[in-house]
Symmetry: C2
Subunit: 451 residues, 2 copies
């Protein structure tokens, strides 16, 4: 490959998502109703999600067609480019070949619209008028705001109050696409009012914001709820990343020895990894590394157990690697990785030994990210920068061993809204956070009992 | 054309810039030495610019090869996509076909790196170790910071003090690429110290920042100066935009009836327009519209006269449309359009009747920009939004006349660092600025006398 990047034409864009459930040697554990402890059915989810997404959640079909209406919106930025990171390779003086898929070309700046557009479409198709969701730093909220705008849906985003005030530009982005954004806890829901009554100065949390968005959706006929990670159908929609990357690697006459992605809820990692995992199931030697923050190390330090998806215990119970639903991670800049659990599909694959996981400290992550910016040009999102840290480490290992190796990673988004973090790093003022042993011990003590 | 966007492969990227000087029916007026009033020669410019750029400034060659080292950096984001704005067309219910070239895919987020990379390369090649420049809102400064980083040059950016404090993220972006950024007026130059002594609270201006950057470059052997617009060689480097657009329009089986670009110093307008202007010189019917803000309408309200390029009267005299070098435009959000003059090449073409110009108010510009964001997804930079205002007007005219028309415009950058402006617009708090008759009259009274 002589090119700097491999492009696919719009005609070469994949027309199907890849559903890993069809190929997993062992299926993931069923989702349980928190009251009865029995597996939940479609009816339990119907107040929150449209039937087509509920169907995808449990589908065993290997390939699921991407509706033409969804493809049409994808084409506003997809297929995304695959880069060969020659300048980074040169800076590291490594024999490794490094490729990255760049998802920051979407108008919202990350991979999140891949599922937001699909979810908005299916909701619209089933007559839904309005979607609610929560957002922390705002990557997900802005993706859903954009998607709702394209399909003529109202969108209400409950944004964690501390982020609402700290990251006004992400909020403005959502508003520019027409969404309504309120700081959470808000006066608009029972959950919000209850918390404000007890703690008027509450800075909010993702757990609280989820509770508000779910209550809002459940209490209105015309409204459903949308989640940006964790669930099977969300991971499914992200597989277009890996399917494109496969085609592009083939054009570059290359195949990865190792695939690397950061992992918060798990969807961007799944997006790049799942379409290659199929080869591993078929016997091919290929490694996968999910990278998480030391401040929130669900795979590397959590337990594999049934837990709630949210802090307020309103969701069903899912079996996953978890630090406990009451665990509140430190305020690292990679807001998208501050989740106590991990997608059930990714968790099952980790438990089955199909993928590896590594946890990184914040300063080491930004060190790698600044090196990337100075070699490849693009300023990565702090979440994506976690993957880069491990890419650099793998490339240096390759150098130490004197052996070439092909590395592929997902650069899930740009850091244009995260420059305050870079400012702190460059000033030597970025805090590091190590594994919070005691806090995790306490949170794990509150895991629900499942017989 | 069925596609949403037309891509070129890296192999299809143009390998030459287009030099309009070779085809202009009348050459622009010579640049004069402010002391002698005589045309300047290469020796006058040598302290500030490398010889290769001075050569390009006066070249009559039609095509100038893009060095392989510059192409290699371009390939990090070029060729950029050409979009068909189908959703905008649908929203306007217009028979017009609207195409746009999107330059926001560069790591710095605008078209500015097209010349920054070339300038850094030629300076490096001639042994220069360090470049200085000025920046207002920061688009240009970040482009040059990135370019210097790629060629191992030191970069010092004098950033207008009020922007330095109001737009910290643009500053951090420059620092992440390794540049040194100081608020101007600074203590680092005689010009800066002089102003601080008289006005310690000075918010700075582009004129002051230019004086500081020029003084710095002129006073150090290892340092030269870099300018982001206005000069012939800068416009030349931007013609890669229009050359790519020509090839892409051809692939789309289309040719523009009208080409539209915003115009501050003139380089992004020149970039999209010049490679098509050649056809006009050859007799083809094609219109060109430069769009400027009502607050700073150099083409539509200025005079065509010799004037200084900077406020401090340190530059040579150039013949251009100018509002007077002492004119200070109102604080519109399109910082890149706040320049008292217009590139001599663009000015000459306007004077010769080859191009048209329109001035727009800030609120009308943002109205069009929000419509664009909600139809096409991308949030435009406030500068680029000026072009969109006139695109919308032309498309509506097309509808009123019941005649189809093919419109091409340059979306020169994204607005990720300009969301404060969108926030004001959405809140109904955006100020409008009309043509400042009195201020321009006063400024024009200070034009230098040239015999």
């Amino acid at each position: 490959m002589d090119e700097t990047k491999v492009q696919l034409s719009e005609r070469e864009m994949p027309r199907e998502w890849y559903n890993i459930a069809a190929d997993m040697p062992e299926p993931p554990a069923p989702v349980l109703h928190p009251g009865t402890g029995r597996p939940i059915g479609p009816a339990d989810l119907a107040p929150l999600f449209p039937m087509e997404l509920i169907g995808q959640e449990v589908s065993q079909e290997r390939h699921i067609p991407i509706p033409e209406e969804v493809q049409a919106v994808y084409r506003l930025w997809r297929p995304t480019p695959l880069y060969r990171a020659r300048r980074l390779e040169a800076a590291l003086d490594t024999p490794a070949r490094i490729f990255y898929k760049y998802e920051g070309t979407s108008p919202a700046g990350s991979h999140k619209p891949n599922t937001a557009v699909a979810q908005a479409y299916y909701n619209k198709k089933e007559g839904v008028k309005r979607l609610t969701t929560e957002t922390g730093a705002g990557q997900w909220g802005s993706a859903l705001a954009m998607a709702c705008n394209f399909f003529g849906l109202e969108c209400k985003v409950y944004m964690v109050k501390v982020s609402y005030h700290q990251k006004p530009y992400r909020r403005v982005l959502m508003e520019t696409w027409g969404a309504q954004v309120v700081p959470s806890p808000s006066q608009d829901t029972n959950a919000g009012r209850g918390i404000l009554a007890q703690a008027p100065g509450s800075p909010g949390s993702l757990g609280i914001a989820i509770s508000e968005a779910v209550e809002d959706a459940a209490s209105r006929e015309d409204t459903k709820y949308s989640l940006g990670s964790v669930l099977n159908h969300v991971l499914l929609h992200q597989t277009i990343i890996g399917r494109e990357a496969r085609a592009q690697m083939e054009k570059a006459d290359a195949y990865p020895d190792v695939v690397i992605g950061c992992a918060g809820g798990g969807s961007n990692f799944a997006g790049i990894a799942f379409p290659f995992l199929r080869d591993r199931f078929a016997g091919r030697a290929i490694r996968f590394i999910a990278v998480e923050p030391e401040a929130c190390p669900s795979l590397t330090r959590g337990v594999y157990a049934y837990d709630f998806g949210d802090t307020a215990m309103m969701t069903p119970l899912v079996k996953m690697y978890t630090l406990g639903h009451t665990f509140v991670p430190a305020g690292i800049h990679a807001g998208g990785l501050r989740y106590h659990g991990m997608a059930p599909l990714v968790s099952a694959l980790y438990q089955q030994g199909a993928i590896e996981a590594v946890a990184c400290g914040q300063r080491a992550v930004f060190e790698a990210s600044v090196l990337f910016t100075r070699t490849e040009g693009i300023v990565p999102a702090p979440e994506s920068a976690h993957a880069i840290r491990v890419v650099v480490d793998e490339a240096l290992k390759s150098k130490a061993e004197g052996r070439s190796k092909t590395i592929l990673f997902n650069l899930s988004g740009h850091g244009h809204f995260d420059l305050a973090a870079y400012e702190q790093y460059l000033a030597g003022e970025l805090e590091d956070y190590s594994y919070p042993v005691e806090k995790v011990r306490e949170a794990l003590a509150t895991l629900p009992k499942v017989s």
